[in-house]
Amino acid sequence: MEVKLLTRNFDRPESWTLDAYEKAGGYRAWKTAFALEPEALIQLVKDSGLRGRGGAGFPTGLKWSFVPKESSSPKYLCVNADESEPGTFKDRYLLEKDPHAVIEGILICCWAVGIHHAYIYVRGEFGLPLFRLRDAVREAYAKGYLGHDVDGHGFDLEVTVHRGGGAYICGEETGLIESLEGKKGQPRIKPPFPAVKGAFGGPTVVNNVETITTLPWIVEHGAAEYRKFGTEKSPGTKLFSVSGHVVRPGVYEIPLGLPCKELVYDLCGGISGGRTMKANIPGGSSVPVLTGAEAEAVNLDYESLAAAGTMLGSGGMIVLDDETCMVWTLAVLEKFYAHESCGQCTPCREGTGWLRDLVYRLEAGGGKSCDLETILSITRNMMGTTICVLADAAAMPAASFVQKFRGEFEAHVGAGHCPMRRRPAHFLTAAH
């Protein structure tokens, strides 16, 4: 069953315009928010139990409370719209269909934390989402919702839309900040965390688009209403973007805790061509893979997925059918991470390259039986040893693919070709 809190306006005609948003009751929640003391607003978000939707699931109200109230340097909000995790395409829809809800969320966050300048860091490849967002910001300025003295509260708020340059690592919060400052997007060592020292040296909140867009609903309806959806520890709804071998791929808003089965078989119409689900990557390409059977038994909330040995991540679910070669799929993934590693940390720079090369060789049927152990050993040396968690994001799929589909990997060893596809691999010749 879908629950439409964030996607409530998606089906309205021209939902991205100011007019449509206001007609649907938009731009009222922030007035409620501005009537509250900032501390009370932060408390409200804490009470709602909202957790960050960008991947890590960190409690949003708690993150805001780490920002010092008084600061000699300006504070910033960075809305993370860099969405580049393979399989994830939910923020794109929010920006395209309801950009004013993003802006209203920004107003609420900035009032709560005392921020006067927000950046929206938009993925460089985005076309329509960027244009719609830019138009919406323009409309909001013209209407006096942004800029100098918002709503006569003596509160100034500038919003800058920044178009990224095309690098996955700029989705990592400190990579994003570096990039915003005009540098290479190489993540910083933490601490200090951005809440203390972030963009241009000032305390900075980094929040995902979906997190920010949830705020108007929470403010309007209250924390208790929000908690009516989802589970005790994972309250509310979450957007899942489902792709791969399902009949109806797309973005679905579901209450957290929904059985994965319901999403895959009811909402998405099951596996295409009447085949069966061999594997399921539930939270974006960086999380450990589940077998079809594991996926059918799991519920979609932070705790249940963790108990099943994987993560909710960004909610980018990739469904793979029984005709998919897992070695080949892993090769596609590892090629991506090897390309996107920013190169600062040796375990990540070297590890991602080695993983890619080993999996390529296996895929081509030229691997050795010791390669599987080598892959597992490399992943152990990558995890927890680097500046950011991109290394873990590359290692976790590799380890779980090999562990859970070991037979398929072994069948490739020395086979001279991919046994699933019965022809020589194209990977070694494909440009990369």
Binding site: L128, G165, K183, S243, T329, V332
Partner: protein, 160 residues
């Protein structure tokens, strides 16, 4: 051909409040279609940002190009969802239709072909983008017609 449109980089403060180096490079690419050595020198002379830093930043981001490109940029998604939905067949159809391989530009400078990772619209897999237009749920046999549309609209706009 580089347009000789004048661009002003004097207010570029590296690492300053505005972080304008990337927008400046984006501006160059929008104007010229790619980033030439001459333009990088121009940025350096006007702003004082060291050359090494300009090159470092420009080469870090996949978006920036250092060679002239075709009028139309064709990007084929090779992300996970597109891969499992037949991106390879789409790529082959494009290579055949355009007569160039990945990363190359047609001799008439109409098209540049690029493979990219996930374009962020996986529910439409397999996906290609031509300039800022997205095409999804593709079959290899549809490629000819799509490309034809751009051939006929010669004079299309160069997009970053």
């Amino acid at each position: 051909m580089i347009s000789h449109r004048k661009l002003d980089f004097r207010t570029l403060h590296f690492g300053g409040e505005e972080g304008k180096l990337i927008p400046a490079l984006q501006k160059v690419q929008e104007t010229d279609g790619y980033i030439s050595r001459e333009r990088i020198l121009e940025i350096h002379r006007q702003s004082g940002v060291p050359l090494s830093q300009i090159y470092g930043v420009a080469t870090f981001y996949a978006q920036f190009r250092f060679h002239p490109v075709g009028k139309n940029i064709v990007r084929v998604c090779h992300g996970t969802a597109c891969h499992v939905s037949g991106a390879k067949g789409i790529t082959e159809a494009l290579e055949e239709e355009l007569g160039v391989a990945n990363g190359e530009t047609t001799p008439d400078r109409q098209f540049t072909l690029d493979t990219v990772s996930c374009l962020g619209c996986c529910s439409l897999a397999p996906v290609i983008m031509i300039n800022n237009d997205t095409y999804g749920n593709l079959l290899p046999k549809q490629i000819k017609k799509i490309v034809k549309g751009y051939r006929e609209a010669a004079g299309g706009v160069v997009q970053p």
